[in-house]
Symmetry: C2
Subunit: 341 residues, 2 copies
DNA sequence: TTGTAGGCGTTATCAA
DNA sequence: TTGATAACGCCTACAA
């Protein structure tokens, strides 16, 4: 058994009350006693039992995050950078981070949220990859369970979130391609239920409209946000009679898959075909050629979300509950050259 | 406040003892009572409090994993696939998975392991990316804290692990390159303290010796297992007067960085320069050209490690405590062609 | 400034 | 087959 507060108290011939208060920094403990307590506690290697503290204080000092995605394609750089941000923020606040995995709208997903809200191993939850009608947001709000989100939903619900103005980003991206002479610009998106798809697709369409380019539904493909999904969707687009000269992808992974499809057809990306992504992950710097992308600050956003969540848990109002950030267009070689139209 | 066992008992006019035993499946409860209890518990939405249960049973029903690496370069596909495996296995055993982040041998790393062993929010720990003299293994063994590892250490310590025979894999890889006509084969590794480096580097050297090729230390570079690290190390190698015709990289990320360095020098990977990696992550399928690699079953290994850890926690002996797996050589275009020597 | 005592929600021991 | 009761380790109102 690990050393408990009792052991510390016994050693010092003090009551556990005094030890507890000394360690928690109450000011009704004499300076001398406090020092003795702290020294002894450290010497004995005393760390309060998480479970006991949780039970007594009725909070877990932990937050939870469920990784979206489907085995075996979990290798999403977005998630891992996001988790890193959550993990570091959690550590710096002396919180635990609980992680689970579940694919969107699966039984497993319902299970885990039910368990976390009932059994309370976490005080709050971070949501990502929101859906337009996100049942998780509804459910958590109904149960009055603290949560914050990366992105928002189309629900009559007010909750704290940070979202990217990816719509504006995609408009900008289309402009960039149009300026390079592109007229047949394709789009590979994600399933319609995701907010990110709704917004990025809207940006794509708005960008076309701004440039007086007709929307052509045959130039729209769908992926599942993975490399392989992008690869498959791009194959179809590139085999069209009237092939697009540019493909905008819903994220970097999709773009990486699309680049592969282009190569297999002997197309030189950047010259014969422009390809762009979204996220600005490290991958995008090292593709061949380097990938034009819209960069979002994943790591920092995750950290900031934890701060917001802590405010929510503490019951404080959040200074800026709805944060909207602009993605940064990073132009690289994959869209660097003018297309003769 | 959530519904407690008391509420269930009160509703049924039973003692909390009976309710507890009924729900935990003890056989000294009448069938009828058990059914009533289960029905009512479900109706009320009762889920046992994690904290109370932990305190009473003296176990957390949770396992922990610390992601190795340094912000902001956490985007390591190995880690994210590993976490997915741990997460799924944990979920299927009704365990929580606690995640933290710390760079190797940092203060933060010492901190988190101390906290986890003392404060006991987890019953056991999974270690990865072992170091030759891994203080974590020593520390956990000393404190008699259950753990399993991906890879092993050079310590007089017996603990359960799963490791890849990456040494044999690299020997095989060198053979493959030699058969393609390569004589100047370079190696980009990781810091020497990592077991994976010791083994892969040994395999590289052994492969050279088997082929009667002299070892040339100028052909050895070091990276930090990231794309950027691989990129930088490859730059130096490719600027040598006597340039290597092949580069073996300690992992896929390093190889991806190396490919970029090659492209920037106008070298066609696969024809002018062979490059190979290790891990067999999804990335490797989509590089230009697709990357030859040694594939290890990251997801499955993580799941299997959880099973082993559970045995350790339960105090059972593990049927096969030291598992050694062979990586699978996947030859792709990045090493597909013969080199004229 | 320090100590006593009760209870957070469970499970385990023992008695009925 | 069921129930009363005592912990698990900690925090805190209240008493001294």
């Amino acid at each position: 058994m690990a050393v408990t507060i009792r052991d510390v108290a016994k050693r010092l011939r003090l009551s556990i009350t005094t030890v507890s208060r000394a360690l928690d920094g109450y000011d009704d403990v004499s300076k001398k006693t406090r020092e003795r307590v702290i020294r002894t506690a450290r010497a004995l290697g005393y760390v309060p039992s998480r479970a006991a503290r949780q039970l007594r204080r009725q909070r877990a000092d932990a937050i939870g995050y469920v990784i979206p995605g489907q085995a075996p394609y979990f290798t999403d750089p977005f998630s891992s950078e996001f988790i890193a941000g959550l993990g570091d923020a959690a550590t710096s606040h002396n919180l635990d981070l609980l992680i689970s995995t579940a694919s969107p709208d699966s039984d497993a997903e319902h299970h885990i949220y039910a368990r976390w809200t009932q059994s309370r191993p976490v005080d709050g939850i971070v949501l990502s990859r929101l859906r337009l009608k996100d049942w998780r947001a509804k459910y958590l709000a109904q149960n009055d369970f603290p949560f914050v989100a990366h992105g928002h939903a189309r629900l009559r619900l007010d909750f704290p979130y940070i979202e990217m103005d990816s719509r504006a980003g995609f408009v900008q991206l289309v402009q960039h391609l149009v300026a390079r002479g592109h007229r047949r610009i394709a789009y590979i998106g994600a399933p319609a239920k995701f907010t990110l798809q709704a917004e990025r697709f809207a940006g794509y369409q708005e960008g076309l409209a701004d440039a007086n380019l007709a929307f052509d539904h045959t130039l729209v493909g769908e992926s599942d946000l993975t490399r392989t999904g992008g690869y498959q969707a791009a194959q179809r687009l590139l085999d069209l009679n009237a092939r697009p000269t540019a493909i905008i992808c819903v994220n970097d992974l999709t773009a990486i898959g699309a680049m592969r499809a282009a190569r297999e057809r002997g197309l030189l990306v950047g010259r014969d075909l422009a390809i762009a992504g979204y996220d600005g992950t490290e991958d995008s710097e090292h593709t061949d050629p380097p990938l034009t992308t819209l960069k979002q600050p994943i790591y920092d956003t995750a950290q900031r979300l934890v701060e917001m969540l802590l405010q929510r848990i503490a019951g404080n109002s959040i200074a800026e509950p709805h944060v909207i950030l602009q993605p940064e267009l990073i132009v690289r070689e994959s869209t660097a050259f003018d297309i003769a139209s």
